[in-house]
């Protein structure tokens, strides 16, 4: 009446309840999956890994973006700076050449005509600039002589040795000569260009004022506007060499800078630029930060999520472990209870060998309702009972206990098996109690070699006689708890020396999807083999028929006539 579904069950060597089925303190204390508190406080490894990985990726992305932005900025800066420098070079060179060079050439051609000189420089030497002072010099041998002067008083005193040096230097140079002329509160750029004519060499000298603070401001429309700009005379970016700057920032410029050097007469202009704001637009500046902050938030979120999932899983595993533990404990309690209900020791019946087996089924936690009993009636006779209460659980066990005690009492009163069963019928009702029981009861007269059997819905016993095992032919009355008659379900057997009678519960022979007769035939076949002893026989039967996974409880009682 049962399927073979799950595993476990153990045969004890001497019958009785298998020791393995009794709960041991060790098994109860087993830490199977129980580790409360673990992983509750500290973040899980997974969450930390996610956090670290996320942060690393975010950092890499942010740095790469930042680098990209800086590279773009650098390129844009270089591009703009080169444009400015190229334009500046052409403009400044041409400007000086146009004005001073042209004036010198005219002077050379006109043999230093003063009127021509004044006319030539009248547009460039004015109070508004670009030059505020101008002068024409004639070079005779190594001496320079002032021919004419226009505009403001020059900072470079015409009579000074330095003036003579500048003029001589200009005459010797193929291009115009630049010098910085400083006075206590003023700074000017001195520019001198020379030209030679048939009547000698003439030099035009002019002074260009520089802002005293050296600060200039560029209109917003200027291509220089988005840049900080610092222009130095010569090759060195020193404060002394600074000509002009539009930068509000301290000099020299820092950060992303670009420096270009252009020819300016006999010297150079060093132009340094740095961006005032991002040249490639606001996105480039914001992007690395957006990535860093966004990545950080996403990473934290992912880590939190991972942590929650990890904890959820940990607590689920813990719960599963606890449930498993509870199951083990409950099952061992159930098995202990069942073991306690079965007779702990069988009575010693002279002339008989008696052995039993009980295997708890593996299915579920619930205690089953199989039982057996042996009750001596007098010196020559005893009653054996084997039964199986339907269903499982503590209620089934309670029914089993009451039937066992009632059966024992009725047997002791000396009633025949049929009467014992009829009386048991009074103590159980399927409708009322929800359970019924199949019971086989036998009265054995040891010396007379007779067995009187009565059956209430139980499977027929097996008699092995002269090495051949056969099921006993006995009708089945209705089970205990189901109204009906069992009056016809009786049989009487006669046995010989060495004969074995085996009664069992259905767990031994039943397999799901198989007709019961198949199991019964298996039993007959196995029981017909040769055995060393009754114990050996029962062990073999249980092993062969139940396999490793008895799904249902199995109870087995064997009686052997010794003489």
């Amino acid at each position: 009446m049962v399927s073979m579904r799950q595993s476990a069950g153990q045969v004890s060597p001497a019958g009785r309840v298998s020791p393995a089925s009794v709960a041991s303190p060790a098994s109860r204390a087993s830490p199977a999956g129980r580790s409360p508190g673990r992983g509750r406080r500290a973040a899980s490894g997974a969450a930390v890994a996610v956090l670290v990985t996320g942060l690393v990726i975010t950092a890499i992305l942010a740095v790469v973006t930042l680098r990209g932005h800086q590279r773009t900025e650098g390129k844009l800066l270089a591009l703009q700076s080169r444009l400015i420098a190229d334009a500046g070079e052409a403009e400044d060179q041409l400007y000086v050449q146009d004005h001073l060079g042209a004036a010198a050439s005219l002077a050379a051609a006109t043999n230093g005509n003063v009127a021509t000189f004044r006319k030539t420089v009248s547009t460039s030497v004015t109070a508004k600039g670009p030059f505020i002072a101008g002068s024409l010099w004639r070079l005779s041998g190594s001496s320079a002589r002032l021919v004419a002067a226009v505009g403001a008083r020059p900072l470079l005193a015409p009579a000074s040795a330095r003036a003579a040096a500048v003029i001589r230097q200009a005459a010797a140079s193929t291009t115009f000569v630049v010098s910085e002329i400083a006075a206590p509160h003023e700074l000017r750029l001195g520019l001198a260009a020379a030209a030679s004519g048939p009547d000698g060499t003439f030099v035009v000298y002019a002074e260009e004022p520089l802002p005293a603070s050296r600060r200039i401001s560029e209109p917003a429309s200027s291509p220089v506007a988005p840049l900080n700009l610092a222009v130095y005379l010569g090759r060195v970016q020193s404060s002394a060499a600074l000509l002009e700057s539009d930068s509000a920032a301290p000099l020299p410029l820092r950060g992303t800078t670009f420096t270009s050097r252009i020819r300016f007469g006999n010297t150079f202009l060093t132009i340094t630029t740095s961006p005032r704001s991002s040249l490639s637009g606001a996105t480039g500046v914001v992007l690395p930060w957006a990535i860093a902050i966004g990545g950080l938030l996403l990473t934290l979120l992912a880590a939190l999520l991972t942590e929650r999932l990890t904890r959820g899983r940990a607590s689920a595993e813990r719960l599963a472990g606890e449930i498993r533990q509870l199951y083990v404990e409950q099952r061992s309690v159930a098995e202990t209870l069942q073991g306690a209900l079965l007779p702990q020791e069988l009575p010693d019946i002279p002339g008989m060998q008696i052995a039993v087996r009980y295997l708890p089924g593996a299915t579920g936690v619930d205690i089953g309702g199989d039982w057996y009993d042996v009750v001596p009636v007098d010196e020559a006779r005893f009653v054996f009972i084997i039964g199986d209460v339907s269903g499982r659980g503590v209620r089934a066990a309670a029914v089993m206990a009451s039937l066992q005690f009632a059966g024992r009492a009725h047997a002791l009163e000396g009633h025949p098996p049929a009467t014992i069963l009829d009386r048991l019928r009074r103590s159980l009702d399927l409708e009322r109690d929800g359970h019924f029981a199949t019971v086989l009861c036998g009265l054995v007269d040891v010396s007379a070699h007779t067995v009187l059997l009565a059956n209430a819905g139980h499977l027929p016993p097996l008699l092995r006689s002269d090495g051949e095992a056969r099921l006993v032919t006995i009708k089945s009355g209705t089970p205990i708890g189901i109204r009906g008659s069992s009056s016809r379900a009786r049989a009487e057997l006669t046995t010989g020396a060495g004969d074995v009678l085996i009664a069992y519960t259905d767990g031994l022979v039943e397999r799901r999807g198989e007709i019961l007769d198949a199991g019964l035939e298996r039993l007959e076949k196995v029981a017909s083999r040769d055995f060393r002893s009754l114990d050996d026989m029962l062990s073999s039967i249980v092993t062969e028929l139940s396999g490793d996974e008895p799904a249902d409880d199995i109870a087995l009682i064997g009686l052997q006539w010794l003489s």
Partner: protein, 108 residues
């Protein structure tokens, strides 16, 4: 005689109809402890009319355990006659061996 199917219920199909006023409960699939409660509710409905007879059509039943026996036996105690129609050989043998044939009318 005990069967426990923890967790899920064994597959069973229950259909009820009446034949000339007699309720006929057809069971197909597997009848065990996991689903006898389910079947019992159909039984209660079928017997609510106060019929004296009840028919179980077990032609489609593939498996039955002691819980099924309890179900059939309990039904037999509630009405005058329970007819078991076309039980498969396994079920029929089970009914014979447990003495249920005394209170159930088997019709092949």
């Amino acid at each position: 005689m005990a069967e426990l199917n923890p967790g899920n219920q064994a597959p069973i199909t229950v259909t009820t109809r009446t034949e000339g006023g007699t309720p006929v409960v057809s069971l197909s699939g597997e009848l065990d402890l996991s689903n006898t409660g389910h079947v019992r509710s159909y039984l209660d409905d079928a017997l609510a009319g106060g019929s004296e007879r009840l028919v179980f059509d077990l032609s489609g039943l593939e498996f039955m355990d002691s819980s099924g026996i309890a179900l059939l036996a309990a039904a037999a105690q509630r009405v005058r006659e329970v007819e078991i129609r076309e039980p498969p050989a396994t079920v029929r043998r089970l009914l014979e061996l447990t003495g249920l044939t005394e209170i159930l009318r088997i019709v092949s």
